[in-house]
Symmetry: C2
Subunit: 138 residues, 2 copies
Amino acid sequence: MYSIGELSRRTEVKVPTIRYYEDIGLMPPAERSSGNQRRYDRAGLERLSFIRHARDLGFSIEAISSLIVLEETPDRSCLDATRIAERHLAEIRDKIRRLTALEAELQRITGACEGDSAAQDCDILAALADHDLCADAH
Amino acid sequence: MYSIGELSRRTEVKVPTIRYYEDIGLMPPAERSSGNQRRYDRAGLERLSFIRHARDLGFSIEAISSLIVLEETPDRSCLDATRIAERHLAEIRDKIRRLTALEAELQRITGACEGDSAAQDCDILAALADHDLCADAH
DNA sequence: CTTGAACCTCTAGTTGCTAGAGAGATTACC
DNA sequence: GGTAATCTCTCTAGCAACTAGAGGTTCAAG
């Protein structure tokens, strides 16, 4: 049995975060020692590792909840998991697309400024003040 | 003079958001009508447009505050604005880099699954459960 | 002068945690 | 077995950047 600190070390999830996951029902209520401290077994470790990994991959808590349900009802098809992952992938691609557009715009703006003019002539501030100067709509 | 609703329409910033900006000091306290409703002039419109545009470009409220200070002290050099914008650009590039790595990993995971196997064999769930299956560290 | 839309303030909720206070439990060492 | 150091407990409050709703007031059109 692991203490919460030990679990934290093994999964690299911070202690208060583990308690938070229990609060919101992502982790099941932990067993307790005689002194009311949380104790975890291998199942707890694996569940938290799963959560950690999914968070690393950017899944929302809500999506992870769904994935856990799927994991625990092994007679269900894997289609739902695929759908969740693919929706997430689509979101990530959308984010990348938007960030890339921002990058281009920002580069254009910062590139325009020499960096030594007085602020009333600063092209960055001018570009921010006037949307019409933008290359494309955002 | 514009009402808050009119300002909202012109800048495409929602009414409660405008009030929120005033609360946190990003917008100066608005003048009021005899009946205590907010009234804005051209300066208010321009300031909110500036904020809106900077938010669109992903600047944080804090960064925008700094930019506004720069805008209002025209004797200061534009170097600070450049620095803020460049730091932000670096952050965006970092985000893109991390998201792109995630995209590759997620694509690998979702691509592995046929989508018709039973959940206990689902490669997505297996990949999420076992970090060792990952192509690279994240 | 009335009606209905727009406005007011205030509180609380969102996501995914993090920080801190003050008290109790456990463990290591002598 | 004692005691000191380190965990751990619960609880509340805070972060960013808003959004939603309640309950009440003001404005503008007809």
